[in-house]
Each structure stands twice: as structure tokens, then as C-alpha cells.
């Protein structure tokens, strides 16, 4: 009996860590996300002027572009943490890379669904094999493949190593894909549809630009919040896994 008590005491701290502790950072990120999201909605619907030719439909832009930005940011973060993992071999880097890639896939899915909706309303076609669209699609496939590598069987550090290698190569591939597709398309369709901010350039009204920047900030906060939450959750899962392993060992003996 006394042994039992002792064991419980030794084990409990590990379990106690399990419920999510809302640290200062979580609260800060959560607050920032909520405030900036509300501000973003105000700016989108109240502040920004309505586009003359496209009308209210143009407001899809404020969801589409920030999602694309977050998607690319997420994959960049995956890339950076993959390199860090290969150099330092700390598990936390791998966790960051994984969670970030997953969020990236979610936001790429947003880009890939809002894009066609917008395209249907303004170009009257669901899909155009346009450089940015196609690159986003290939990016989506690349990081689905990244998640597939993570689903592999085996010990975690092997999976982490392979996933990190794939993350690096995949990210290095993206610019080349973009150039290749842009080149390919410009041979057949000399007019490239303006969609991203770089192509609209000076054509964007200042109020729209402000709204866009606010939305990008809001989405970045959202990303940071989900990333933080996802990483703390992943850590918890790892801890529970360790705990399970120990418990099993004890039960076997």
C-alpha cells in the first residue's frame, strides 16, 4: 500500500501537466486574435470602399490574400524548424514544424476554395491554370505528402528526420514551381490575371490596403494562436505517451 502511494506521488506530476495551462502567451495571443479579428471585420465591411466593377464580391479578397499569406508563412516556419531540427535534434523543433505544416494545409485549403469562388464571380470560370493558383495547388499536394511522411510507422526521431528533410526539399521546390508555371502560362496567355497584391500594385485604393493589412495582422495572430495551442497540445500528447510507456512497463513487471 505504501508503495502504491509512493508510486502515485511519483507519477502524478506528469499527469498534472496534462490539462492545458493557459499561460500568459496563450492569453495574449487569444486576446490579440479576437481584437484584431473584430477590427478586421470592421475594416472590411465598414471602412474599405466597395470596389466599382466587382462590387461586394471583391471583399473575398480580404480573406483570400491573408490566407495565402498565412499558408506561405506556415510553410516557411516548417522549413525553418526543419533545418533547426536537423541541426539541433530537439523534439520541440519537430513539433513546431509538424503543427505549422498542418495549419498551412488548412489555410491552403481556404485559399483553394475561396479562389475558385472568386474566380467564378469575376472571370466566370471556376479554375484557371494561372501561376499562383497552380502553385498553391502543388504546394497543397506537397504538404499533404509531408503529412503523409509524418503518418509513417516507426520511432519518432526517424519520422521527424525524414519529415524535416522532406520539408526542406519541398519548400525549396516552391519558387521553382512558381517560375516554371508562370513561364509556361505566359507562353499561351499573355494576359496574366491580376489577383495578388503584387499585380494590383498601385491600383488598390488606400482604404482597401489598410483593410488588407489589418486582416493580414488578424490572420497572423490567428495562426500564432493555433500554432501555440497545437504545439502545447502535441507536447501534452508526447508526455502522455511517455507516461503510458512507463505505466505499461510497470504493469508488465
Amino acid at each position: 500500500m505504501s508503495m502504491n502511494l509512493e508510486r502515485e506521488k511519483a507519477q502524478l506530476p506528469m499527469v498534472d501537466l496534462a490539462p492545458v495551462r493557459s499561460s500568459v502567451i496563450t492569453k495574449l495571443l487569444y486576446g490579440g486574435m479576437v481584437v484584431s479579428m473584430l477590427a478586421a471585420f470592421y475594416f472590411i465591411f465598414m471602412y474599405a470602399e466597395i470596389e466599382k466593377t466587382m462590387g461586394a464580391v471583391q471583399k473575398i479578397f480580404y480573406m483570400h490574400v491573408p490566407s495565402a499569406w498565412v499558408a506561405f508563412l506556415a510553410f516557411f516556419v516548417t522549413f525553418v524548424f526543419s533545418i533547426l531540427f536537423l541541426v539541433k535534434r530537439k523534439r520541440i523543433f519537430d513539433t513546431y514544424a509538424y503543427v505549422s505544416a498542418e495549419i498551412g494545409v488548412v489555410f491552403t485549403a481556404i485559399v483553394l476554395t475561396t479562389g475558385p469562388i472568386w474566380a467564378k464571380s469575376s472571370w466566370n470560370t471556376w479554375w484557371a491554370w494561372e501561376p499562383r493558383l497552380t502553385t498553391t495547388l502543388i504546394l497543397f499536394f506537397l504538404f499533404m505528402a509531408y503529412l503523409m511522411v509524418r503518418q509513417m510507422d516507426g520511432v519518432w526521431d526517424k519520422k521527424a528526420r525524414l519529415a524535416a528533410v522532406f520539408g526542406i526539399i519541398g519548400f525549396a521546390d516552391v519558387p521553382i514551381v512558381f517560375f516554371a508555371i508562370r513561364w509556361w502560362q505566359s507562353k499561351f496567355h499573355p494576359i496574366v490575371f491580376g489577383e495578388g497584391p503584387s499585380q494590383q500594385g498601385g491600383g488598390i485604393a488606400p482604404s482597401m490596403l489598410v483593410a488588407l493589412l489589418v486582416t493580414i495582422t488578424a490572420f497572423t495572430f490567428l495562426y500564432a494562436y493555433i500554432l501555440h495551442k497545437g504545439v502545447s497540445f502535441e507536447n501534452m500528447r508526447i508526455k502522455v505517451g511517455h507516461y503510458k510507456e512507463k505505466l505499461r512497463e510497470r504493469l508488465e513487471n
Binding site: R7, E8, Q11, V15, A18, G55, A56, V57, K59, I60, M63, H64, S67, I103, V106, A109, I110, T113, T114, I117, W118, K120, S121, L222, I226, K229, G230, F233, M236, R237, V240, Y243, K244, L247, L251
Partner: protein
């Protein structure tokens, strides 16, 4: 206009869907913890 509503709803469906997925994982983990605690006792 309809397109805008469609796009916005799709965006939020995806984001909340993802949140829901996270929540589901959370719950299953919690269940796991409860089970482990019981085993430990």
C-alpha cells in the same frame, strides 16, 4: 453578393472545422489520461 457569402462561410467552416478537429483530439487525449489514471490507481 452571393459569392461573397459563400466564400466567407466556406472560410469559417474550414477554420472552425479545424478547431473542432483539434477539440476532438483533445477529448480523446483527455479520455486517455482518465483511463491511465484509473489504471494507475
Amino acid at each position: 453578393m452571393g459569392f461573397m457569402y459563400a466564400a466567407y462561410s466556406v472560410v469559417w467552416v474550414i477554420i472552425f472545422g479545424y478547431m473542432l478537429l483539434i477539440g476532438k483530439r483533445h477529448n480523446s487525449l483527455k479520455k486517455d489520461i482518465e483511463f491511465l489514471k484509473q489504471l494507475d490507481r
